[in-house]
């Protein structure tokens, strides 16, 4: 007898609809699986066999052929166990005819018939919803994740037996939970925190007001930022707190970002949504695949995990060159394409890049009483950053070298992240208004030359000043444009429609370019 069960497969971050067909015929008894399946699905036959047996179900010794269509698409993942089992059960008559209609199935089976949580439930459920499935059966632990989708009935199942009971008699026992989407977790308004490590807040950082201001500008205008300065001056501390001053995630953003975390199984255990801005800080020995995405099934990497938040690269020059070069596409297009032999996926990669570096290998330049790096060594160190990468970083903020700055306890208590966030939100509102008719641009940091000319218009006096700076400081045209972009953001933070001289001058000390590291001093 023939039966089929609906499910979905993952292709990058998107799901595709898939159908599991089971046909039971006379012949040499056995379970035959087809449909471009990965090894973990081929192994499913043993899991399913034992799970059925241990759930008290006897299957007649017949030839069972299972095909997962579309047979041309390569399928990965263990969530096919449940739909295969359901199709077999329907085909052998254990389940009544027609009970599988309008239902989707996702889940991995244990040998004892227990359902185990799987990755990617969120994007898979979204796909199933688009396929006009009415209800989906998922492992109990994944029920809340699937319940985020509007209009779906989610049936969380603990054991295979419970599902059979439910399908045959609509009986809900303690092994079943039934949820109706959309069901959002309450997002508490407490301080936003990083996904790595414990909660942090800007009020922890005393001193380094200049760096904090630079971080605020970067976040307000969505500028990429590079912190420079000796070790131990608080560069990392401040970068870590940048995610805490980003505006809260909207539901749509949250759903989008959470999908990436879902397919990697990285969603927090206690909640089905990320619900906070990501802060990712990969170590400098990271491989290209882990950074930009990869693996046989082209899974997303750190670049995508940082989407919607901050990607922090500490000790930037120590990253492998090929790793840093993969930053180019996301910094330009806000997405990354990961291509592997049979698969090419595009993932979102829309983050603010925050990087930190020492000014030289020993870290003390330009303090020559401590640093004896030769100019050639210093150039070699900073030269590891390729020019195209540096071109895509707007702000270069130099830390105050004094080591004591963080210890100054007598200074007034530092501002909290939530206070700063209020200002950031205000500045972002102005930008939203400005760019409402510009497609693809949401923030000052994303402006191209055309937009700079349109939105960073300078009056006579300011234009003359900008030109003076251009000449006096020997800027390149690119750094000049960066200066204007930053000045635009500073003016927005000021609530000023017009870019004023002090906005330009503050920006002049923040723009990033090879000449910004050491100014004229490097010549000697």
């Amino acid at each position: 007898m023939f039966a089929k069960a609906s499910t979905a497969g993952l292709f990058g971050i998107d799901g595709f609809s898939a159908e599991v067909e089971a046909d039971i015929q006379n012949g040499i008894p056995g379970l035959y699986l087809t449909g471009a399946i990965a090894p973990e699905i081929r192994e499913a036959q043993y899991r399913i066999w034992n799970a059925l047996k241990n759930s008290g179900i006897r299957i007649e010794p017949k030839k069972i052929t299972v095909n997962i269509s579309p047979a041309s698409l390569k399928k990965h993942g263990t969530h096919y166990d449940l739909p295969i089992a359901a199709a077999i059960l329907a085909g052998t008559g254990v389940l009544g005819s027609g009970v599988l209609a309008d239902s989707g199935f996702l889940g991995e089976l244990g040998l004892d018939g227990r359902l185990k949580p799987v990755r990617g439930v969120l994007p898979l459920s979204i796909r199933l919803n688009q396929d006009s499935v009415k209800r989906i059966f998922v492992p109990y632990e994944n029920a809340r994740e699937a319940a985020l989708i509007e209009g779906l009935t989610i049936i969380g199942v603990k054991r295979l037996g419970d599902m059979i009971d439910f399908l045959n008699s609509s009986r809900i026992n303690e092994g079943i939970t039934m949820l109706k989407g959309p069901l959002y977790p309450s997002i508490n308004d407490g301080p936003y925190c990083s996904t790595q490590g414990q909660d942090v807040d800007f009020s922890d950082v005393r001193g380094q007001e200049y760096l904090k201001r630079a971080a605020e500008i970067a976040v307000s205008g969505h500028h990429n930022i590079l912190f420079t300065g000796p070790a131990g001056t608080g560069k990392t501390m401040i970068a870590k707190r940048m995610a805490t001053i980003l505006p809260p995630l909207s539901r749509n953003e949250d759903l989008k970002i959470s999908q990436i975390y879902s397919i990697l199984g990285l969603l927090p255990e206690d909640r089905p949504l990320l619900s906070k801005r990501p802060f990712r800080s990969p170590h400098n020995c990271i491989s290209e695949a882990a950074f930009s995405g990869g693996g046989a099934s082209a899974l997303p990497g750190e670049l995508s995990l940082a989407s919607g938040g901050i990607l922090f690269l500490d000790e930037l020059p120590l990253f492998k060159r090929n790793v840093l070069e993969t930053l180019r596409q996301p910094l330009e297009e806000r997405r990354i394409t990961v291509s592997r032999m049979n698969i090419s996926c595009t993932y979102p990669a829309d983050f603010i890049l925050a990087a930190a570096m020492n000014p030289c290998a020993c870290g003390f330049y330009p303090d020559r009483s401590k640093c004896s790096c030769s100019p050639a060594q210093i150039r070699a160190y900073t030269g590891r950053l390729s020019k195209p990468l540096l071109d895509r970083i707007d702000i270069c903020a130099a830390a105050r070298p004094s080591e004591l700055s963080e210890l100054k306890q007598n200074s007034k208590p530092a501002e909290s992240s939530s206070d700063i966030r209020k200002r950031v939100e205000k500045a972002r509102l102005i930008q939203a208004e400005r760019f409402k008719n510009s497609s693809g641009i949401l923030f000052n940091g994303q402006m191209g030359i055309q937009e700079i000319e349109k939105f960073c218009h300078l009056e006579n006096k300011e234009a003359a000043l900008a030109e003076d700076i251009f000449v006096k400081r020997g800027l390149s045209l690119r750094t000049y444009h960066k200066m204007l972009k930053i000045a635009r953001t500073i003016a927005d933070m000021d609530g000023s429609l017009r870019i004023l001289p002090h906005h330009i001058l503050e920006a002049a000390d923040l723009k990033a370019g090879s000449e910004s590291f050491f100014g004229t001093a490097i010549k000697y």
């Binding site: 007001e209 200049y210 130099a398 050491f518 001093a521």
Partner: protein, 371 residues
């Protein structure tokens, strides 16, 4: 085969590895430079005047003579003058030292024999304060008719040349490479502005070396170069030096040549001051203002001239305040704000005005120093 002395010296220097001492021994045997080249080097080798390596080099030069002579013509055509020890134009000061170079390649001109000259040396990785000091002393001394000699290296050497050129007077750089090579290569613009090769400029002194035209920078070259720096000067100024450094080699050369050394005092806890302070302890003159050197050289200088003393009458109240806070070392905006009491957001405005007026310099994002 006829060959003039200059050509012979040129070929000998192309052999490399044959220093003043070997030349002296060769001269006793061969008599003339021409004969040193034209005689079979194996003869010298057998009599123990030169070693295997030197003989090999001489063989190489002799077999490659046509090409080298062609290069020689190119060299002289490109404006390089060559002086041998016996030539009349050879610097007298240099000829007096115990091991003078037998050949000098000069692009531009040699220092004026009738004018006093001072060598300015110091660390390659010096502080901004050291740079300011080197520029200041070179500029002031140049203006008072002292020729500045330096090594065209990074740091103090560069600052000395820049300072001297700024005064509008000529300066001289002694290389540790061939005349066609500039090491470090970042100093090519400076090299060209001294030799007057840059467009729209004229000769502003000279670049001098004893090494064959295309010789690369090798560590021992700089030691040999230092003896020429010491040899060309009347007095040696050390601006900033670490305890163990190349400057001590130049100082030793100067002392053994009977020249006096001035050292700029440094802070006692500053590694860059230790070399100079050690020199002062050992008897060098402290260098505190240009007048110290001028008096020593017998040039009248009654006026007191302290580095960094500038007329601030044209500055506003805030500008004066900030100028007084700035030092020769770059300071961070936050430090300037704390010291001056002016809020950090107001600083860039005032600092840029100071920069426009030539009182301050931005040395990279958020860092400023005084001028």
């Amino acid at each position: 085969m006829y060959m003039d002395r200059k050509t012979a010296c040129y070929l000998l220097s192309c052999a490399g590895d044959i220093g003043p001492a070997s030349i002296g021994r060769l001269r006793l045997t061969a008599g003339s430079y021409q004969d040193m080249i034209l005689t079979d080097p194996d003869l010298f080798l057998r009599s123990g005047i030169i070693n295997n390596k030197q003989a090999e080099k001489l063989h190489k030069v002799r077999s490659d003579m046509d090409r080298l002579l062609l290069k020689y013509e190119e060299l002289t055509a490109s404006g390089v003058s060559i002086f041998t020890l016996e030539d009349s134009g050879y610097p007298e000061r240099l000829a007096k030292i115990s091991d003078p170079p037998f050949i000098l390649y000069v692009r531009g001109r040699l220092p004026d024999e009738t004018m006093p000259s001072a060598a300015v040396i110091g660390s390659r990785t010096c502080s901004d304060y050291g740079i300011s000091a080197a520029e200041f002393f070179s500029e002031e001394l140049s203006e008072n008719g002292v020729q500045i000699i330096s090594g065209l290296a990074h740091g103090i050497d560069t600052a000395a040349a820049v300072g001297a050129l700024r005064s509008g007077h000529d300066t001289f750089a002694v290389l540790g490479t061939g005349i066609n090579i500039c090491y470090p290569k970042e100093n090519y613009p400076l090299y060209r502005s001294i030799t007057g090769e840059a467009e729209g400029t004229h000769n502003r002194g000279g670049v001098i070396t004893e090494f064959a035209p295309d010789e690369n920078a090798l560590p021992f070259h700089f030691i040999m170069r230092n003896r020429i720096i010491a040899g060309l000067c009347d007095v040696l100024l050390v601006i900033e030096a670490r305890e163990k450094s190349g400057t001590s080699i130049t100082v030793n050369y100067a002392l053994s040549q009977g020249k006096d050394v001035f050292a700029m005092p440094g802070r006692i806890n500053d590694p860059l001051g230790r070399g100079c302070n050690g020199l002062i302890r050992d008897g060098a003159f402290p260098l505190t203002e240009p007048g110290d050197v001028l008096t020593y050289l017998g040039i009248d200088s009654s006026e007191k001239n302290i580095m960094g003393k500038r007329d601030t009458a044209c500055l506003s109240h805030d500008e004066k305040n900030i100028y007084s806070v700035l030092t020769e070392e770059p300071s961070h905006l936050e430090d300037i704000s704390e010291a001056s009491g002016i809020p950090i957001l107001k600083l860039p405005m005032i600092l840029f005005d100071l920069e426009q007026k030539g009182y301050a310099l931005n040395t990279g994002n958020a860092f400023y120093k005084r001028l």
